[in-house]
């Protein structure tokens, strides 16, 4: 029998909301806490587990159900929250020493909306410091491990959220995606992760890394579950001026018959990638073509500029966004006799090496005399890239590519080679630069048993269509989330 915590989210929430059904929010929360207690010592997906708060929230929800009150679509569903999102009253660390015990006074908009829909926050998940990285090894509080192979990374930067969902510790998690930080760990952990259209989900309460690229999005074991969380968190927010409204999807979900799937030459897994990943992409496409979809070969040469443009724009914005961590008002502080020394010592002690590297890169890219050659040029290519991608979507309905050119790599394997780490994002950054939505979904495993993900890209605003299509693709390929062996150790 399926454990209640492993049910589809819609069913789980419907049962909790039904006063005649014996399943209570408290049961789900206890199951989640039990699994965390059993497995997270090895995974280190969580930086902070809020057992007390979760139990209290579950009890309140159960009381409301008992009184016959209506509860939302996430009633009683345990939710893991990436620790760069504010949850009122819980420490917010961004996996950095720089925040030094900071506790935010308010919930991030996405957290407030999830709570209002009945979700119960069980804890805050690990990440690469300030979401900068692709392995969740750049955490000041220790790395997260991949549930499918504890010797490997879960991807990043939202590796804690991905590992938590993949290991069954929570059915849903929130992450943030600036250059692939939801999709790449979703792929490496064998689950679904969605990067929304820029402006679709509020960033209020998300600690900014690169504001023009950051989006908050859902992790789940299935696309249907991710869609429920996506619907809850999305929508204009008066506290984020970059949010806007998108029209609801028109009509029924896309049938595979006649669906035009763009195959972008520059997004193909090349010689530097893993052949098993390339094969998984080919198999997925073949399954879709067998059900009537058509492949449209495309070339978007500017796609090759994605990484260089991203690694100018993102560090530039980060150098400004992280200026507030100066030790003056909150966070880690190292006293000094002079102001400049106070800044230098506090920031030197607070930030890890990757964060420092990006601050220096970004400061350089914006400096007088260099801004034209780097920042402005990158922004101009970014504009052209956005147009090129819009042009591609004029000729197809979606793009299908790999999410990551390689499956989960060994812990420490790329830790000393920033450039190799940056190339983990080669297939994901373009969606952020262009602002378009993309969903990573499971596409089987390698012979070694490591998950492989493929990525569906859609035009602006097609988030819900993409998530629906991801469900259709799963039915066509028969490739769905499979629990890692480790998850079998606990009920």
């Amino acid at each position: 029998m399926t454990a209640p915590l492993d049910l589809p989210v819609a069913e789980m929430a419907a049962r909790v909301a039904d006063p005649r059904d014996g399943l209570r929010a408290a049961d789900l929360v206890e199951a989640s806490l039990r699994r965390i207690a059993a497995l997270d010592g090895r995974l280190h997906a969580f930086l902070h587990v809020d057992a007390e708060g979760a139990r209290r929230a579950a009890a309140e929800l159960d009381a409301r159900v008992a009184r016959g009150e209506a509860v939302g679509p996430l009633a009683g569903v345990p939710l893991a929250v990436k620790d760069n999102l504010a949850v009122a009253g819980l420490p917010l660390t961004c996996a950095s020493k720089a925040l030094g015990g900071y506790v935010p006074p308010r919930d991030a908009t996405v957290v407030a909306r999830a709570k209002a829909a009945g979700a119960v926050v069980v804890g805050k998940t690990n990440l690469d410091e300030f979401a900068m990285g692709s392995s969740t090894e750049n955490s000041a509080f220790g790395a997260t491990r991949n549930p499918f192979d504890l010797g490997r990374v879960p991807g990043g930067s939202s590796g804690g959220s991905a590992a938590a969902v993949a290991a069954g510790l929570a059915p849903l998690a929130l992450g943030s995606d600036t250059g692939g930080s939801i999709r790449q760990p979703a792929a490496l952990c064998g689950i679904v992760g969605h990067k929304p259209t820029y402006g679709r989900v509020s960033r209020n309460g998300l600690v900014a890394f690169a504001s023009s690229l950051d989006q908050v999005g859902p992790f789940a074991r299935a696309a249907d579950d991710a869609a429920i969380l996506q619907r809850v968190i999305e929508g204009p927010d008066p506290l984020d001026a970059t949010t806007r409204a998108f029209p609801p999807p028109a009509g029924r979900p896309r049938d595979l018959a006649g669906l035009r799937i763009g195959v972008v030459e520059e997004l193909e897994v090349g010689a530097s990638g893993d052949p098993e990943v390339a094969a998984a992409v080919t198999r997925t496409r073949a399954a879709l073509v067998a059900r009537g979809a058509a492949l449209v070969p495309l070339s978007v040469p500017l796609m090759t500029a994605g990484i260089p443009v991203y690694y100018v724009v993102a560090p530039a914005e980060c150098s400004s966004n992280l200026a507030r961590f100066d030790g003056v008002r909150y966070g880690a502080r190292v006293d000094a006799p002079e102001l400049d020394a106070l800044y230098a010592r506090s920031r030197d002690a607070g930030f890890g090496p990757e964060v420092k590297r990006r601050i220096v890169l970004g400061t350089f890219a914006l400096s007088a005399g260099y801004a034209d050659a780097y920042y402005k040029r990158a922004m101009s290519v970014r504009g052209a890239l956005r147009e090129a991608l819009a042009g591609a979507f004029a000729r197809c309905d979606v793009l299908l590519s790999a999410t990551s050119p390689i499956p989960a790599f060994r812990a420490g394997e790329k830790a000393g080679d920033p450039l190799a780490m940056y190339l983990c994002d080669v297939l994901t950054v373009t969606a952020n630069l262009a602002g378009v939505p993309a969903t990573s979904l499971p596409a089987g495993r390698t012979r070694a048993g490591l998950p492989v993900g493929v990525q569906l890209w859609g035009p602006d605003g097609s988030d819900l269509e993409l998530l629906a299509l991801a469900g259709t693709v799963r039915a066509a390929t028969g490739l769905a989330y499979e629990a890692p062996a480790l998850a079998g150790e606990v009920a």
Partner: protein
């Protein structure tokens, strides 16, 4: 007189606090003078994850000020981050406007030193947020920071270097202060810091040499702006003569004005310090300025002080001085115009206002809003004097009564029996009484010594209880003494 050895060139950067109820990018109140650090929220504190959202009122007041300065308001504007570290700047950057300012290409007219009208060009006016305030307490190890001001909307108004002296710079600031008060967009008070200015000063010599540009900070009054510029002019001239440094071979620098000594002191050289790493603010989308908003603001702008001053001279026949006094404060000008009623000459009303009314207000150290009666009453009083219903002396009595009771002046005249006596018989009788009472004075006037005439006037007016028509009394006395 020999040709001047150099010309003075001054450009002015003004930071004007816009009079909004709340801050530029959050809902905190924008107020001066409260306890430190009470008007704060996650946004203006720069807490992690907090995002700015634009206060529409800040935009409206920015547009309105720009229009009052004759600027073009951009159809599309955008926001940029100006990055620098300072404890009173919680985010480590200031939201400002770099390459697409809200307003461009305006002008402000002032009186030039030669008396002609000078059009001082305004290059741009852009919106930005204010910083907090740092207090460096001498003798202690710590500085104190008050972030109440942080996020208050500012309009930075940058002039072209069209000002040619300290006096012109002072007049520019005075005029700007008046314009924003008329437009209702700022209090423009330099003491409270809601108008702050940084003059940029240098000199140009007949041989084409220019001294390095110096930006002067810490000037907190119009008179100090003038003092600082005068000091700078002399200092730069001495330095040029001593060292020959010019703009071409010396970087810009910043100097601070010291109120106690009247001198400017070197603060920093701009070359190394200023790299603000401007880039577009990703948290705020570019802004399409609503044309309807612009037109609504244009339509509701009042007549501005200089135009009003010119009109007072041309249409009302006021002296330039009186017109200047009446238009210096928009509340006074408004009060004055409300006092203009049928039967009273604008010049007469102006005299009563700037004479008797101002004297009383000055004595009480209060402003125009302290006048307890409606402006039209002063017009009615002026009309009674000009219509010879009362004489000027009795008019002052009426004004005193008016101040206390607010009654209609004509009712006061009736109640106090102040109506002027012009009846020839009564006037003649009074004059005869005066001549009889002052025989020595009468003899002196008859002997061709007109100095004694005043004594006779006084006696005649006394006989009429001060209510005599002075012109009739004078004519009758002259007649009787011929």
């Amino acid at each position: 007189m020999s040709a001047p050895a150099y010309r003075v060139i001054v450009g002015m950067e003004v930071h004007l606090q816009l009079k909004t109820r709340t801050k530029a990018f959050c809902a905190c109140r924008a107020v001066y003078g409260d306890e430190p650090n009470v008007h704060l929220c996650p946004v203006c504190l720069g807490l992690p994850g907090a995002l700015p959202t634009l206060n529409a009122e800040a935009l409206r007041l920015g547009v309105r000020t720009g229009l009052a300065l004759g600027c073009t308001v951009a159809a599309r504007t955008k926001w940029d981050r100006k990055n620098y570290f300072y404890p009173d700047l919680p985010k480590g950057y200031q939201i400002s406007q770099y390459d697409r300012p809200l307003c461009t290409d305006g002008a402000l007219e002032i009186d030039a030193d030669d008396g002609a009208t000078k059009r001082v060009r305004i290059r741009r006016a852009h919106l930005e947020e204010d910083t907090g305030k740092s207090f460096h307490v001498t003798g202690t190890k710590h500085s104190r920071i008050d972030l109440n001001r942080c996020g208050t909307p500012l309009l930075e108004i940058v002039s072209e270097p069209d000002l040619a002296s300290a006096d012109e710079a002072a007049r520019y600031l005075e005029e700007l202060r008046k314009v924003v008060a008329y437009a209702g967009t700022s209090d423009g008070n330099m003491q409270e810091g809601n108008l702050r200015c940084e003059p940029n000063v240098n000199l140009v010599y007949p041989n084409g040499d220019r001294t390095p540009i110096v930006e002067v900070k810490n000037v907190n009054s119009v008179s100090n702006v003038a003092r600082a510029i005068r000091f700078e002019v002399e200092r730069q001239d001495l330095e040029y003569r001593a060292h020959g440094r010019t703009l071409a071979n010396t970087p810009r620098s910043t100097r601070g004005f010291d109120d106690a000594t009247g001198e400017t002191v070197h603060q920093r050289t701009k070359e190394s310090a200023d790299d603000y790493r401007y880039f577009p603010e990703p948290d705020l989308p570019p802004l399409d300025v609503d044309r309807a908003l612009v037109e609504a603001e244009r339509a509701t702008l009042p007549e501005l002080p200089r135009a009003r001053r010119t009109r007072y001279v041309a249409a009302y026949g006021l002296s330039a001085y009186d017109a200047g006094v009446l238009t210096a404060d928009v509340r006074v000008a408004t009060w004055y115009e409300q006092a203009l009623v049928a039967g009273a000459s604008p010049k007469g009303v102006a005299n009563w206002l700037t004479g008797e009314v101002f004297a009383r207000l000055n004595a009480e150290n209060r402003g125009i809003e302290a006048v307890p009666f409606p402006p039209a009453r002063l017009g009615e009083l002026t009309a009674l004097v000009e219509g010879k219903v009362v004489n000027a002396q009795a008019g002052k009595q009426v004004l005193r009564a008016l101040w206390d009771s607010g009654e209609a002046p004509k009712d006061i005249v009736a109640r106090l029996g102040l109506a002027q006596v012009s009846d020839p018989g009564a006037v003649r009788a009074a004059c005869e009484t005066a001549i009889a009472a002052e025989p020595a004075a009468a003899a002196a006037v008859r002997a061709g010594k007109p100095e004694a005439f005043g004594r006779l006037m006084g006696a005649a007016m006394k006989a009429l209880k001060g209510k005599g028509d002075p012109a009739a009394v004078k004519a009758t006395l002259t007649d009787l003494l011929r």
